[in-house]
Symmetry: C2
Subunit: 374 residues, 2 copies
Amino acid sequence: MRTEICERLGIEFPIFAFTHCRDVAAAVSNAGGLGVLGAVGFTAEQLEVELAWLDEHVQGVYGVDLVIPSKYEGKGIDGLSPEELEAKLAELVPQEHRDFAEKILADHGVPKLPEDEHHNQLLGWTATTAGPQVEVILRHPKAKLVANALGTPPEDVIKQVQDSGRLIGALCGSVKHALNHKRAGLDFVVCQGTEGGGHCGEVSSMVLWPQVIDAVGDLPVLAAGGIGNGRQVAAAMAMGAAGAWTGSVWLTVEEANVPPAQMQTYIDATSHDTVRSRAWTGKPARMLRNDWTAAWEQADTPDPLPMPLQMMVALDGVKRGHRYPEAAKDVNFNPVGQIVGMMNRVERSADVVNRLIQEYVEACERLNKLNGGA
Amino acid sequence: MRTEICERLGIEFPIFAFTHCRDVAAAVSNAGGLGVLGAVGFTAEQLEVELAWLDEHVQGVYGVDLVIPSKYEGKGIDGLSPEELEAKLAELVPQEHRDFAEKILADHGVPKLPEDEHHNQLLGWTATTAGPQVEVILRHPKAKLVANALGTPPEDVIKQVQDSGRLIGALCGSVKHALNHKRAGLDFVVCQGTEGGGHCGEVSSMVLWPQVIDAVGDLPVLAAGGIGNGRQVAAAMAMGAAGAWTGSVWLTVEEANVPPAQMQTYIDATSHDTVRSRAWTGKPARMLRNDWTAAWEQADTPDPLPMPLQMMVALDGVKRGHRYPEAAKDVNFNPVGQIVGMMNRVERSADVVNRLIQEYVEACERLNKLNGGA
């Protein structure tokens, strides 16, 4: 199942693993796939530390996923430092929203963070804050692939990355977005169906993948949304995908830095327990349905703000949920796709890669047998 | 790609075509698949006429799809004729709903039906009205397969159908429903993802199919939701499906009795233009988003009634839309799946069957090549 993009990256299997955890990224890369580290939670300085660690622990190459949205509040405000932009955007957040978020957490008894743990609020959800991350990536030769999560990356970023011999691509949830990516000269697109975790569109993988594959011609399409089993990898490859982009399944691996209580929430959830909601990031994203998502849906409560303002409201909840996952059980941020219903046990990352390959092979053999082959 | 269910039915390809049009059903059966006539629009007398026509025009066998919901208003009211049940249920429909439906149609200038075209309102959306349809089916030996659309069929219906040497199955949108079907002794399940047209659950095909296939063991699973291309058939078969259950694609074939203006609406629509709504039947169903679906979603308008009451409100709109499709362009009932975005031209039914097979073969060859085969 080695495709052209495997050749270009020098990897064995076209299995791409999006994760916020460097241990998982390293394990997948070392098992023959490509670990892709989500950079959105890190400052440039923190990202430097993570990538230095990956350089040391990855034998081959790895990728980095950025979030530079095409549309967000404050876009076009130039010449500000990340701190200045944050201060400016903070003025746009109504106190009502901050109070409502605080009330939800307080009602559920989620403790506040210690006073000395001030954190910045933007964390890479804008071009201003993601820009320094790009510079960090370019200093790390094993960081061979860059993906952007919310739209076509800026022209200068594309040029910088490609000139350095790296591949750059972007996610899409529609044919229109895929064609924008192609016109901008990206090296690949990640096409994600609505069943996927995190930011997603409305069209399902089964329907979207073939349309995007047909639309972009020879541009490699990595299939995302709903993949947690090698049968789904086979389905994607049969439809013409150049590889499988996975995310959710890496939340319940041994190496993941997901608190045990939160990991158990994922293990227990069924495919019917997710919702597409703006309640955390301001853009529609798939996550587990809980009291937090329900609270922002009521007619008599504030509507979620646009990106990145809603995350400036919600980030305290993310941090408190990570710190106190037991208390935050019903109001935690649990971004995950519908595949969560098939995530029923904790596995080692390398075992997941091997399982995906094994199940892929079995699915191909099933088809061959059906078609009168051996 | 001949599976065991093909053997049992004596058909060539496991391509099942759900349609309300006998010409389409006949064309698919005669092309090697199985045409399945949707019975919900017909009285027992009308169904008798349709099946007699099919007996004459189908060389092999065909199927019939019923709607006996597991849950509906009026269930358990025994000993009434369909007419008496209808009168009783009509009392439960608030005048406010009838007035609102009439206002939507009037605001869009959709003419009323001629006075002499009185029609009954239930049309098979209950066990009482679907019961006589079963008796009709049993009189037609070529009607070899019965499927029920909204839940496990009643025990006596299962027994009647199986004792007559026919196969009976039912649709499902969750593992739980599939297991109910298996426990009831059905011969197959049709597992439909949320992207499918008409009544559907919330979980996508990519995620749902493998879970249902694993859950029901050796019971054949026909994959539904999002299939309009042979690549999707290959994906389904690779994941372990016993066949492909299709519906939407038969709305834009030459033989379909869909008015040209409405067919054009389907041809023009993209995969982003559907919505899952209770506005026509009272249960969540996928259809094109338009002024009718939007009207019932507003906070200050009546909420859709449960099945079958909402259809008793909406049926006049269905009939008027069918009669005056130009006028009803923005308020018509257009049940269809997200695959509508790939339905871009009118084809002959037999050509669709052949195309599905051809694309299926190409997808299998793509996989083989990827795996180092010929």
